[in-house]
Symmetry: C2
Subunit: 341 residues, 2 copies
DNA sequence: CTGAAAGCGCTTACAG
DNA sequence: CTGAAAGCGCTTACAG
């Protein structure tokens, strides 16, 4: 059907090796005039290299996999995942790589998971915001299969994540310096690296400043708007509610804004809210959200580039921490006493 | 390095063909006892089939490509794309297919685009919400390469889209029956199928009801929150603004809600707003958005299944229109006179 | 039920 | 500078 190098060779009465070298422009020299003719015939025949055959020999498919585990029903619900994916995709295009998406990986079915991951022709994998998949990583490491962990860490592989502790500190310092002493927290997914680190940083800060850690000022919102709203209601419906709320991502923070409005709590006058991510929505919600920015696109791009290095030359495991920055908008202000309308 | 069927054959002193048939459980019968031993040795050697080699022979990679053109700087900014992608991924997993993502396709570089699309080992392609890529489609059709068009139509290929005309009619009937006669529109991307169809359906409805089509009540928001907000400001800042606004997607509608708030225009008392998509945000914004629901996940899944049929047996080109439904929430109400505070 | 062999479309030593 | 040949890891007619 489709033309192969054999067809070109036959047509020109030359060997396939010469065709191959001519087409690839090396590494063996080919008489320029001959090369021209090869290219000419290739075009005539609408020749298109079969990369499968090439990959079989070179052992490189130039496809990398992006992996999401089953904890996320959707691949890209969150703005954070959007940023990461865009970063990966951009970098991949730049580096001439293709991106294969593997989603809904079942972390409990180790063998099945390994099979699925290794069957996609991929040269390497990027795990994004998954539960800690240590046994799975171990299996891959045993086979010396290249992978990198994004928003997580692994002993055996390069890992990239944001400076959660620093980011949380920025957010809480901001609230503290505004005068807040009653600070609540809506937690992400406890089993996820970011959720855990942010939660722990929150507790560490309160302890450090000798602020009260009220159990009923902390609730788990699982990084989703729906559960975030439930968590916010649980915290804000109480008479002794906090004056400020730090949320582990923007989606939950925006949901909290909605809950506050429903409860007639004015933001920022009666309640300050801080998010995490700096999603697009954060500047479009009402009031515009003060949040901790994490460079998700850069992180995605870094993960891809690191993976490529890892594939090329087995570059060593290391951790890349990206700095977080505070973006102050209008959802935070000094607490006002007795404003509980 | 990794074990191959040769290694297994050698170890058992049998032929590779027998190993192959044993591993695949057919189509040639293999003595059950022998088969067991093959499987046993395969496990011992941590054998893993090289699907590249298999694909080379069977001419099926079981990878399908999802294509987005360069008009979208991000792959998955919109809730609509999230839905579609999730639908594709779900169906792909169900059908044992892998999904490769091709983004930022340059529609002006026809040859480059074709090269990129055909080089990813993919069995077929799904084009999602792209500009009309007729010449590109023609090239693929010429090569009998399977593809389907999502949110668009093509003569030569299966296409899936939503019933835009019906959906818009639902939205506008709703506004009309509430008493609105001054209706504006924030347009999507004019070069996109959905943007165009919704715009045309809007005009058709107004003509049909003999309503005024005021040029300054229509503005283009390009399906984005940012440009949507600009468009909303242009329309709403005028003294003779409309009493209702139909927006071609939810993101622009939510942006319009923000603009209305900034301008001190109360929704729905002084302005009714309707969106399109029924994104997650539509129920979390304020007020919750009345919108036209399109079943984006089902559409994505349908596109994948149709593509697979097309790959299998060259099933004929046809158009699948999915129904749209109206979801009434709180952003619409009868117009009230003289409420221009 | 099993083996020996051809072949998928390439790349790349080995010879000249 | 070029050709003839081996081989990547499989599948699948062709023989028995």
């Amino acid at each position: 059907m489709a033309a192969t190098i054999k067809d070109i060779a036959k047509r020109l009465n030359i060997s396939v090796s010469t065709v191959s070298y001519a087409l690839n422009g090396g590494p063996r020299p080919v008489a320029p005039e001959l090369r021209e003719r090869v290219l000419q015939v290739a075009k005539e025949l609408d020749y298109r290299p079969n990369r499968l055959a090439k990959s079989l020999i070179t052992r490189r498919s130039h496809i990398v996999g992006v992996v999401r585990d089953a904890s996320a029903h959707d691949l890209v619900t969150s703005p954070y995942m959007q940023g990461v994916l865009n970063g990966v995709l951009n970098a991949a295009e730049e580096m001439g790589q293709n991106v294969l998406v593997v989603t809904r990986l079942d972390p409990h079915d180790l063998e099945g998971a390994v099979d699925r991951l290794l069957e996609g022709h991929v040269d390497g994998l990027i795990f994004v915001a998954t539960f800690t998949l240590t046994p799975l990583y171990a299996e891959l490491a045993k086979r010396r299969f290249p992978y990198v962990v994004l928003s997580g860490t692994d002993q055996a592989a390069p890992s990239v994540c944001v400076d959660n502790a620093g980011g949380v500190r920025l957010a809480l310092e901001h609230l503290y310096s505004l005068g807040h002493r009653r600070i609540g927290h809506i937690e992400g997914i406890p089993g996820h690296f970011d959720g855990r680190e942010r939660y722990e940083a929150f507790r560490a800060f309160l302890r450090e400043r000798n602020l009260p850690i009220e159990p009923h000022w902390v609730a788990c919102g699982m990084f989703t708007p729906f559960e975030g709203a439930t968590a916010a209601r649980a915290i804000l419906a109480r008479p002794d509610r906090p004056t400020a709320l730090f949320c582990a991502n923007d989606e939950m923070a925006i949901a909290a804004l909605g809950v506050a409005r429903d409860l007639g709590i004015r933001v920022p006058e009666e309640l300050s809210v801080v998010g995490f991510d700096d999603a697009v929505n954060a500047s479009y919600c009402h009031p515009p959200l003060t949040t901790v920015r994490q460079p998700s696109e850069e992180m995605g791009a870094a993960a891809l580039r690191t993976l490529l290095e890892r594939i090329e030359d087995q570059s060593p495991a290391h951790l890349m921490r990206f700095p977080a920055t505070l973006v102050v908008r209008s959802s935070t202000a000094p607490p006002t006493k007795g404003a509980l309308s």
